[in-house]
Amino acid sequence: MATEILMPALSPTMEEGTLAKWLVKEGDTVSSGDILAEIETDKATMEFEAVDEGTIGKILVPEGSEGVKVNTAIAVLVEEGESADDIATPAPAAEPATAAAPVDAQVDRAPAAPVAVVVPKETEIPEGTEMKATTVRVALRDAMAEEMRRSENVFLMGEEVAEYQGAYKISEGLLDEFGSKRVIDTPITEHGFAGIGVGAAFGGLNPIVEFMTFNFAMQAIDQILNSAAKTLYMSGGQMGAPIVFRGPNGAAARVGAQHSQDYAAWYAQIPGLKVVMPYSAADAKGLLKTAIRDPNPVIFLENEILYGQSFDVPQMDDYTVPFGKAKIWREGSDVTIVSFGIGMKYALEAADELAKEGIAAEVIDLRTLRPMDMPAVIESVKKTNRCVTVEEGFPVCSIGSYISSRIMMEAFDYLDAPVINCTGKDVPMPYAANLEKLALTTTKEVMDAVKAVTYR
């Protein structure tokens, strides 16, 4: 049976090209891999090889022809026993490939909307549960220890997590309890051990990878984004990476530009990641336990300044906090202050001071940035008609700017004032004490913002 040889597409964007030169003539026998012609694309001249074997029965497009559309028949290949004379007229050009694709009626349908986040219930704290003042540091350690007791597949790796007991003492005591098989010191090699962690997660384990700080995770960003976050999608749901990347994020104190960045907005942008940034010790514990059990990659952003702060933690066997559920720390009717992580410190301090001046602020702790509990924010704004966001990150494309746009889209008619974003300043972190203070957001700035939106 005669086979048409079609003008090939030789690049992702090629639609037509020049048939520069035939390297075979009518009557030549060819086998697969033989070069038939040279074809010029907009980028280069390419050799075009035969796929099938046979004899060149007829050349339909002469060399030197320009603007030959992809999938036009350029020659006819005949098999043994056939003759070029058998081909009376050139066969019509093949239909473009797109026509062959079964697009059916789908083109008329709008893509499905993203599935709404189903917010799970928070562990109920029974009446009479003992509350114990606990530092964020100990809460994080307890969360890891409990989950490591719960499942053999959970292990911790990172720089100084074992023998040194953690650069910030978050893993204190874990080596003693779980041994060196499950609490693993790595060399200083973030790109490498982040990749090994993701590979171990592909292999079915549940790694907790500690970055000494999230500044160093930039060395590993490719493994976090391209390997951990995207594999479930790229594999059509076959395999993902149940892994937690955790460590301190944001400014500490006087450590300069390279050690003082808040990466919340960076990670929150990536589909496939979950992003957590707790404020209190109870949330740190409950959210980290949830993160370790989650079958997806979780970015768990801690804060060095908060490590030593104490909060009440319920003394329960298995206290978990769900993702995607904001916590209302304080109810109020005059303004909604939305924050997360250490920003909550400024938000709560400002709310206390504002109360003395007769302004009742509602303070919302997002706790998780992806998924983000926007319904809680919108509901509150509908009540207060005003909103101030607070975070330590840079102002451009910040979490606050995203929240502002969502409020504009979903509660525009409820707003009595523009939303104000309190953020870190648009500068690398300076070292000098006075400049560093100026670069961070402050309680005073939050109070001023609230007064501005409430026209006081």
């Binding site: 003008m7 090939p8 597409a9 030789l10 690049s11 992702p12 697969s32 891999g33 070069i35 694309t41 001249t45 390419m46 050799e47 796929v51 992809v70 999938n71 093949a94 062959a100 694709a101 079964p102 697009v103 789908q106 349908r109 893509p111 499905a112 909307a113 993203p114 799970p120 790595t186 060399p187 090699t189 790109h191 490498g192 990749g195 090994i196 962690g197 993701v198 590979g199 171990a200 592909f202 292999g203 384990l205 493994q223 391209n226 390997s227 594999t231 479930l232 999608y233 790229m234 594999s235 059509g236 749901g237 076959q238 395999m239 149940p242 496939g272 979950k274 989650d294 079958p295 997806n296």
Partner: protein, 333 residues
Amino acid sequence: MAAKKSSKKPNVSKEELLQYYKDMLLIRRFEEKAGQLYGMGLIGGFCHLYIGQEAVVVGLEAAAKEGDKRITSYRDHGHMLACGMDPKGVMAELTGREGGYSKGKGGSMHMFSKEKHFYGGHGIVAAQVPLGAGLAFSDKYRGNDNVTFTYFGDGAANQGQVYETYNMAELWDLPVIFVIENNQYAMGTSVQRSTKSPSLWERGAAYGIEGEEVDGMDVLAVKAAGEKAVAHCRAGKGPYILEIKTYRYRGHSMSDPAKYRTREEVQKMRDERDCIEQVRDLLLTGKHATEDDLKAVDKEIKAIVNDAAEFSKESPEPALEELYTDIYMEAEA
């Protein structure tokens, strides 16, 4: 076409030899068909063909056992076929259809099979190297004797994360075989133009990792080296490096005119060193098969590839709802 006779005595049975011939031929015919479908616009984007390198994966798969894992770069079609993935599912992924291994959401560079322990299909050069060591870590953690074949090219061999991984793999005795598929060109840059190292496998010595160079056009040599590497890993001796000297006949991707080498260089390789011709020669001169037997094999392979191509055209495009699925796995209640 005169193939250079292999100097090696076959260390395999007639059946095994015939199987390698079939496996390599399947990859070659599959890739030729993929190139054709690309030309027709049925396959889009990037498409990196494996033609010329078939002996590497077929030889190493001959040394693997159930439960062993494999991971590679974007030039991945051959690896998938060699580990037993269905040509239909692979081809339908290339055409971006529902019947593809990733439901059309991965494409040529991103396919996976949990069932066959194939962990991709990775598009960032060398990113699969620490991932492969991580897979090996999971086997060591569980205490089984499985190994992970971690494939990467001569180009990837200059990435820093390879050496970060070498260091930890040896430090922790991970059962990983680093397979450097040295096809001599990182896209258009030859090995000689990218490093002064006389060999790539010897770099492992700096980390205490053993290794060797292998003739990648000789499937039996690859198999023998693979068996040695596998035995090393299974015995708990840590990683092993195989630098397999191979050659790709086609461009880096479909849109590469390959002007960085001469047509004669490619033709010489095809004429004198072709991996499939070498086995064909062994089969015929050893009287393990007749010309007719091999013709029947050719026909059988052609039918498999044509079926895969047909399937890849007939399988529908993914439903539009698929845009928003597989981003997150449901957490257990």
